[in-house]
């Protein structure tokens, strides 16, 4: 147990991220199921408006910050050092710190569900309830009286620190710790997409941090940054939030695109088609992602010139995105396709993401968007790209890399059930939402009029959601039941081309007995110009120093939720204690002898 609390090994941290994130995914999924149960009929099933508003807020916040991002982080952690030929990340203790901060931030957010009595609320839950993007001025102290929004803004500030720290860590790791011969354009596409994603993280998260701090000042200290009566402009919140929020959606999708770019070549037995284009399109998407944010604000009255500019940039970004899809099809084309579950999910990604992408293009047309925005049409778009896209991509990664991470194979039979039920369930759940939106159902409503005629669509969505739930449970069973299997997965069960398949499954603690020298993009394959890399020696020629663990990342991390609790309870001494823990932790960490 102690070794897990003090671990600085990227592989263990990756597993910690995975299980924690998967747990939050199940929580977010439960929130979705309750939402869908309530919406199965117009008058609902008895979920109150207040509870419903908390549920959709927490569903969005949990899925984005506590499930999708950390599930991607599980793979950044486990796989990146292996793919680049390194023994660990650049800053192992900082890596552990990111994990603990994520866990604690997620716990703080979810603690709000039961913290009501501590705040004299008349209900158990004071969970955030202003939507996952918390528009001002609904979030002002005047209109959001309880601690709900405070939990949200403090929790997200803490989570932001986790993401930023990981961002710095992985940028340096990927740029600076590559094996000899691993030139940038020989990096696996997953590593490339991760690098691009981390640049987005370190530039976008400061912006939301500022927005959250300004909101915190409004709510705690009486400023008027977003309060009209004091001269503030609620629209400033939207600009700041979406300047973060749009890069955030690319942070969410690019890693999954990277996974797809790994899985398709392995199971087609041919290289990724258009590697350079796929890499550069990811970079272009990241840059363009900064130019489109106000397409979330088309109904706010930006004016026709701003509307036109953002409509234009949003359409532009469809081009590099589309290019990737064609390159993926090009990868499959002419290949020898083995339909493992990983490949099924990767193909599913392509099939579903194109739908989300096309509804995205319809959103780009600002006037048309005036009918679509804030309705179930955009809920459909979001879920096609984030579930049909990111989640299916992440599932592909799970089936692909599970043997490497645990030494055990997942059941392919259960995997097929998981895949088909998920594909059917998600289309049943989300396709009708295009229609319920176009027929007048706004989002974030706990009840709707029977006369709108959208009841039937809602029923289908609910059945679809339940199907996804069952599929997920099957997957969970798959994960759990393999723990009883012997750890006997081969080094390279799928015949992959990249370095993570060069050592045992799971890898030894030092990853590589000898750091290889890399000659091309596909080191483990026979290519036109290169034989496969020589197998790594069984044992390292000399003992390899592996750093021990450290308590200081976890202890330092603890300082922040303590400060947050102090803020929530308006107890300055508690804030100071938290700050002291943070400062002492940093000092002890800085002066701790730690050899990487």
């Amino acid at each position: 147990m102690k070794s897990w609390l003090t671990t600085t090994d990227h592989k263990r941290i990756g597993l910690l991220y995975f299980w924690t994130a998967f747990g939050f995914f199940l929580i977010g999924g439960t929130e979705a199921l309750i939402i869908r149960a309530q919406l199965v009929r117009p008058a609902g099933i008895g979920v109150s408006a207040e509870t419903f508003n908390q549920l959709f807020t927490m569903h969005g916040t949990t899925m984005i910050f506590l499930a999708l991002m950390p599930l991607s982080a599980a793979f950044f952690n486990f796989i990146i050092p292996l793919q680049i030929g390194a023994r660990d990340v650049a800053f192992p203790r900082l890596n552990a710190f990111s994990y603990w901060v994520f866990l604690l931030g997620g716990l703080l957010l979810n603690a709000s569900f039961v913290a009501g009595p501590l705040f004299g609320a008349d209900r158990l839950s004071v969970a955030p309830d202003a939507g996952w993007f918390a528009y001002a001025n609904l979030t002002s102290r005047q209109f959001s009286v309880g601690p709900n929004v405070d939990f949200w803004l403090l929790g997200l500030q803490i989570l932001g620190i986790a993401s930023l720290a990981a961002g710095f860590n992985f940028i340096v790791t990927i740029l600076n710790m590559r094996a000899p011969g691993m030139r940038m354009l020989r990096l696996p596409p997953f590593t490339w997409m991760t690098l691009v994603t981390q640049f987005l993280v370190i530039t976008a998260f400061p912006v939301i941090t500022v927005a959250l701090v300004l909101l915190m000042f409004d709510r705690f200290f009486g400023t008027h940054f977003f309060v009209p009566s004091g001269g503030g402009d609620p629209i400033l919140w939207q600009h700041l939030f979406w300047m973060f929020g749009h890069p955030e959606v690319y942070i969410l999708i690019l890693p999954a695109m990277g996974i797809v770019s790994e899985v398709l070549p392995t199971f087609s037995r041919k290289p990724l088609f258009g590697y350079t284009v796929v890499v550069y399109s990811g970079v272009v998407i990241a840059f363009l992602g900064w130019t489109v944010w106000a397409h979330h604000m088309f109904s706010t009255g930006l004016g026709p010139i701003a509307d036109s500019v953002f409509a234009g940039t949003t359409m532009l970004i469809a081009i590099p995105t589309g290019v990737k899809i064609f390159n993926w099809i090009g990868t499959l084309w002419g290949g020898q396709l083995r339909f493992t579950t990983a490949l099924l999910f990767a193909v599913g990604f392509i099939a579903m993401f194109i739908i989300g992408g096309l509804s995205g293009v319809s959103h780009a047309a600002a006037p048309a968007d005036l009918q679509q925005t804030d309705t179930y049409y955009v809920v459909a778009h979001i879920h096609y790209v984030l579930f049909g896209g990111t989640m299916l991509g992440l599932f592909a990664g799970m089936y692909y890399w599970w043997p490497k991470m645990t030494g055990r194979m997942l059941s392919e039979t259960l995997g097929r059930w998981h895949f088909w039920l998920t594909l059917i369930g998600m289309n049943l759940a989300f396709f009708p939402m295009h229609l319920s939106g176009l027929f007048g159902m706004p989002r974030r409503i706990y009840t709707y009029s029977a006369e709108l005629g959208v009841t039937r669509f809602n029923q289908l969505s609910t059945v679809g959601a339940l199907t996804i739930g069952i599929a997920t449970l099957i997957f969970f069973w798959n994960l759990l039941s393999t723990r009883r299997r012997p750890i006997n997965a081969p080094n390279n069960p799928w015949g992959g081309a990249t370095l993570e398949w060069a050592m045992s499954s799971p890898p030894p603690v030092y990853n590589f007995t000898v750091i290889p020298t890399v000659a091309n993009r596909l080191p483990l394959w026979q290519t036109e110009r290169h034989a496969p890399m020589e197998p790594l020696p069984e044992r390292p020629p000399a003992p390899i120093h592996v750093p021990g663990g450290s308590w200081w990342p976890m202890i330092t991390a603890l300082g922040m939720p303590v400060m947050a609790i102090g803020a929530l309870s308006r107890l300055l001494p508690v804030v100071l204690v938290g700050a002291a823990v943070l400062i002492v932790g940093i000092y002890r960490w800085a002066y701790e002898p730690f050899e990487t």
């Binding site: 528009y135 402009d233 396709l337 083995r338 706004p442 669509f457």
Partner: protein
């Protein structure tokens, strides 16, 4: 798979009745422009969808691994293809972008001379309308004349709301401290449904509205009724009793009835009897609903400021009769 589902959905839903809040049944110049633009994009999307999915399905069918087959050719890319499948989407986007920009400027909300101006003020969770050129006000049900340009000048008294009547207009937000404009010309008389489309708190789902598009004569008649002060009720009538109950109850603290009370917190009730709906277009304006609403509004509309009223049965009947008389 999605295509199959779409077909199933179309079949399942074909039996459904009219969709009163449909964005696909435009009845104004504004919503017609939006519908044209959407239709254009929709068909392009269908084309792209069919091409991509067909290529994908072909690839996964045709290139299944067959035992004993040769290793696939290690193709790394193809420059001409890359250029082609970059330019083709770009070209399609031009066909979408040009009508988009045109529609943006067409629907920017600038009304021609002679448009009827209506100010819309959003509250949690009801709508206030003022007609500055006509000197009247209204609540929740917006009356406009048919085939006449109408300009809505919208702001909020509290949080951000969004005015959305899909058949007549795209939505625009109501933001405190700003004025947003919608301009439209309805093409046929009728009652059009809408609701708030920006999450605005506990009863966001219950903030609904109606737009009543009327012929010029009917509209003028409505204006005249709105201008008129309520008639004095007949002595000894239930309506008169109800007026007395109203005057001595909490009602006057929040509601305005011309000549009787000046409360500014809740909607004006001077013409509540003439509306088809109550409580933010949430319920039909019936005797039963009025009873239930006055007795315990928060139980019907969570978070609403109007507290439950403890009136005797007789008083309640009387005040309902009074409200119904305020046409």
């Amino acid at each position: 798979m999605p295509l199959l589902l779409a077909a199933v959905l179309v079949v399942l839903t074909a039996c459904s009745g009219p969709f009163p809040q449909s964005a696909l049944a435009p009845h104004s110049d504004f919503s017609l422009s939006l519908d044209h633009l959407f239709t254009n994009i929709f068909w392009w999307a269908v084309v792209v969808f069919l091409i991509v999915e067909a290529l994908l399905l072909y690839a996964i069918g045709r290139y299944r691994a067959r035992p004993g087959a040769r290793a696939p050719k290690p193709v790394h890319g193809h420059t001409a293809l890359e250029i082609g499948w970059t330019l083709a989407p770009a070209l399609i986007l031009v066909f979408i972008a040009v009508p988009t920009m045109r529609t943006i400027f067409e629907t920017a909300g600038n009304a021609p001379e002679g448009a009827l101006r209506v100010q819309v003020i959003g509250h949690q969770w009801w709508w206030e309308y003022r007609y500055p050129t006509l000197g009247i006000a209204a609540t929740n049900e917006l009356h406009v004349p048919v085939r006449t340009p109408v300009q809505l000048e919208m702001t909020s008294a509290d949080v951000i709301h969004s005015f959305w009547v899909p058949r007549l207009a795209g939505k625009r937000d109501l933001i405190q401290g700003r004025t947003n404009r919608i301009e439209f010309r309805a093409d046929s008389a009728g009652e059009y449904w809408g609701q708030c489309a920006e999450f605005c708190g506990a009863s966001h789902a219950n903030m609904r509205l109606r737009v009543v598009v009327q012929s010029d004569t009917a509209f003028q008649a409505w204006i005249d009724r709105q201008r008129a002060a309520p008639a004095a009720p007949a002595k000894g009538s239930p309506v008169e009793m109800g007026q007395r109950v109203f005057r001595r109850s909490a009602c006057i603290g929040c509601h305005t009835v011309t000549g009787i009370s000046q409360g500014k917190i809740g909607p004006e009730l001077t013409h509540v009897g003439g509306r088809a709906t109550i409580a933010g277009a949430l319920f039909p304006n019936t005797t039963d609903m009025l009873h239930r609403w006055i007795t315990n509004a928060p139980s019907l509309k969570p978070g609403v400021l109007m507290p439950p009223q403890a009136l005797s049965a007789a008083d309640l009947d009387a005040v309902v009769a009074y409200l119904q008389s305020l046409k």
